[in-house]
């Protein structure tokens, strides 16, 4: 799991994210739902909404098996070194982010205390070197930017999966501290390679990284574009204009695309998809998502291969978007229609019906 946003709104009008997730989760021998790894890209509310509500935090011994809805166990928790950074006026954290940091600290401390790799449910992986040296003695649970990993939940599955960590890249010349420390700027960007037979399915998970990151990555890898190749690209920052441009759409008369940033995001393989995890894209007055950004992405992969999650399969009733990673590249799966009776039942709960 790369991130989650599980709200508590009424579900009659939109997708029940929690239920859809739980329908797909495996359960362990104790019947507890689990995920092998949770990689939090950065600490914005829309990337960890529902974290405290849905996931088990603390040691496994404290797991409650009698809850109506069982909490999801995270076997291995991944985060940038920013989990050590406390909430402050200039760096405000939502409650879920605070809970996430606390859990991350608990897990990392176990490793610091015992100097042995923690067991499932206590394991943690830190991405990036801490500037104050806190990661110096944690090499066993720490990856640097530019590293390739083949282990997930401490299982080496290099024949199946590997991940190349592209960002958060180091502070650039002329980049001020405020910009560098911005939560989006600190997003973890990973290119996953998932092998199926002879085919390498490439997924570029971009989180909320913006123009500077993409422009810099192009500079870094333009002679090694394999590092930026993708079969599926997650349109950065929910299809934000600012991932492709330094200019403001509302304030600049003729906002320009940053060509290098676009090149970094244009390393598509044949038949590749770009997915915008965003609200419905229409009109240029909102950003993200931005219709102008969408146009740029459509120019890369074509209209049919650009999918907005909240418009899938249609605007009225969004459903989960799933890909089957096959030996011939990703295959978009059809949407399973639900029982019309349960849909009707849910719909009936939307308002009160007076009876005479």
């Amino acid at each position: 799991m790369i991130y989650c946003s599980i709200g508590d709104e009424s579900i009659a009008d939109h997708c029940d994210v929690n239920q859809e997730l739980r329908d797909r989760l495996p359960t362990d021998s104790n019947g507890r739902p689990y995920i092998d790894a949770f990689i939090l890209t950065h600490r914005h509310d829309d990337h960890l909404k529902g974290f405290q509500e849905q996931f088990h935090l603390g040691s496994i011994e404290e797991y409650k098996d009698d809850e109506e809805e069982l909490k999801i166990i995270i076997r291995e928790l991944w985060s940038s070194h920013n989990f050590w950074k406390p909430s402050s006026t200039n760096y405000e954290l939502c409650d879920d982010a605070k809970a996430f940091n606390k859990e991350m600290k608990r897990r990392v401390k176990l490793f610091e205390d015992n100097k042995v790799l923690q067991s499932e449910g206590d394991r943690a992986i830190i991405i990036g070197k801490d500037p104050d040296g806190k990661t110096d003695n944690l090499s066993e649970i720490n990856y640097d930017i530019g590293d390739t990993f083949t282990k997930i939940n401490n299982r080496n599955i290099s024949s199946k999966i590997s991940g190349f960590i592209l960002s958060p890249i180091e502070q650039q010349k002329n980049e001020d501290d405020e910009c560098f420390n911005d939560k989006n700027r600190q997003s973890i960007v990973i290119q996953f390679t998932i092998k199926q037979g002879e085919y390498e399915n490439k997924l570029l998970m971009t989180a909320d990284a913006e123009c500077l990151v993409w422009e810099t990555l192009w500079g870094k890898y333009k002679n090694d574009v394999d590092k930026l190749k993708y079969d599926i690209l997650y349109a950065p920052h929910h299809c934000s204009w600012h991932s492709l441009s330094y200019d403001s759409q509302s304030e600049d008369d003729n906002p320009q695309i940053c060509e290098d940033a676009k090149k970094a995001l244009s390393q598509n393989k044949e038949g590749a998809f770009i997915v915008s995890q965003s609200k419905i894209i229409k009109g240029a007055d909102q950003d993200p998502p931005s219709e102008a950004a969408k146009d740029e992405y459509v120019s890369i992969v074509g209209e049919d291969q650009f999918i907005c999650t909240n418009e899938h399969p249609n605007e009225k009733k969004p459903e989960p978007l799933e890909f089957n990673l096959t030996g011939d590249g990703p295959q978009e799966k059809g949407v399973k229609e639900k029982s019309k009776l349960s849909v009707a039942a849910l719909a009936s709960t939307k308002e009160a019906y007076p009876h005479g």
Partner: protein, 695 residues
Amino acid sequence: MDEFWLKKAKKYIQEHNAFEDVSELTTSAENITISATVSVGLPSKFIKAGITDIGVKNKEEVSFIFTDQFPLVAPNILLRNDFPRCFPHINPSEYNVSPCIYEGNISELLQQSEWMNGLLNQLVDWLEKAASNDLMNYEQGWAPMRNDHFSGYILYDPSEVLDAFREKNSLFVYRKFDYEDRNTIIIVNSLFGPEKRKNAHALFVSTTDIIATYCPNPITNLAELYKYAISVGIQDLKKIVEEIDLKNIEENKLFVILAVERPINLISSNCKFEFLNFVIHKSEHRRKKKRELKRTLPECKVGMLSHISDRSPELLKQLSGTKTKLNDKKSIALVGCGSLGSKIGIHLARNGNNPFLCIDPDIFMPHNNARHALTLTWSQNKAELLSVSINSIVNVKPRVIAEPALKADFTGSRIIIETTASLSVRNFLMSRTDLPSIVSGALYGKGRYGLLLLENKSKTTRLIDIWANLYYASLSNALLRTILFFSDTNSVQVGQSCSSQTMIVDDARISLMAATMSLKIQNVLENGLSKNGEILFIKYDDNYSLTSELVSVPEYIEVNSIDKRDWKVRLSQSAHNQMKDIMHHKGANETGGVLLGSVFLYAKTVVVTGIIPSPPDSIEKPTLFVLGTEGLEKTIKDIEKKTNGKVTYLGTWHSHPSGGTASQTDHNTYERLLFVRNYEPTVCLIVSQDEIILV
């Protein structure tokens, strides 16, 4: 046909996001068709072309063929005639491709709350898997070769064939096979009535390499079979087939079975070999100049047969979901093949347990039909009849002893299951210490109660101890007394001159008890007996259910006498602990009391199960204990009355707190007690800190 349902079905197809261009209802004499186009997500490599390398399109035409039984029966789903047929999970059909979209019956799927959406979702999923060439689900197992031209059934044991390949160190095995020809369907090997038997031979041929390509059965004649054999690495099939043909020239059929090794186990199987079964319809018998001409010509028709597993312990184990231990050479001895024993025996056999030893001296009489597991019966010995039925279930013939168990040899048995309700059989079993572990079951109180007694693993707690323990427990348990000591048999007239001592109870109630007992015995057969002896109490409740309780029996020890006597004395650990507690309580003074327990005459065994504290007029001194008499007679009478005399005064015990052997006084008391008791079995025990002495 009901328009309502058809319109509803059409609406579901129209509203499903993967379907478009839904046609109007097209009516013919027998059915109604709705056609539609399905959008199929293709892997990214094929999106531009709109078709996969195997030939699945991004828009596939599909027809739903409804009969008048819809919606109780699902529509037949057909794809275009030129849809690629090289996938598994396609139903046999000669025209149009019929995808097998669901593991079970799709009419059952239609009855779920998703209704038509269940089918439509499965169809989309199936097409997506075809597009990504994932229909062979390696986690599920290898899908067997599809047979579009079904010719009949063939029965044999695949594992036995594989063993034969290994034993003979050959890739060819050839043997006699019988069959019945029912015009279009061939039934091979014991699936048919014996009177219709025709002779033939079967040739089993194994591949040497693992064959990982799936292909549906394309074979309709012998030339095609030879070609297919060569494609899976079997080069010599033609030569061998012709040799066998000439050796058995009178036979009209020849069965050829190819054992093809696959990369993974077949679906729902633990075997990697897929057996492809063919029947060759040999050509006319001809001679030329008195020389036999071969009848296996390339144009001979070849049909494909479906394999059916023969009944076997493995099959029954698999179906019952038990962990039955197979290949145990030692038998399960069923002592008693009456109503309870036959039902337990059949339950165990249906789990694949074997071999059995059936013991019963009785003849099955008409009145036995009221309660028994067997149905096709006649007046033959019950053990023999049960063995026929067990053999017909598990395919392993039980050994039979059509005599009383009293003379049986149990050396080849691993367990004895006794259900005779015969006291003499019980006494015989209790008298023998050299027998395998015994489980003894019986019904009481007109079938309201059942008792299953189980010896322990090490056979240190024996049936005799369990019975003594039950008798002693009944002292404080009125229900147990009712169960054990009140006769519930009736004399039932079963003919003008015969009557039978039996219990009036109906078959269903015995079945309930037998089923529960069988579950416990199955557990024992899988995991062994417990560390302690056990008693399973079963009670039939008025609400048509059973309640049961499993009680652990305390350990018993055998007390050795100084001089070897005929009688054995066994002592319950709990009675011994009680004596030691009293001894410690009395400090330096000797103390003692009365021993209670049961006497088993035939087994020449006395089992001490409890004690009565010393009466108040007893004398307790450091070197002397005199057992008083106050109130003792009444207490003993009450105990005997309550237990039908099964629990009685066996003798005395007294303590030697500082140790030491029996004194002259002790010997004199023992002699006096023997005399008073008219030399009936009598026990005098001396209990000290570390030992128990039998005077």
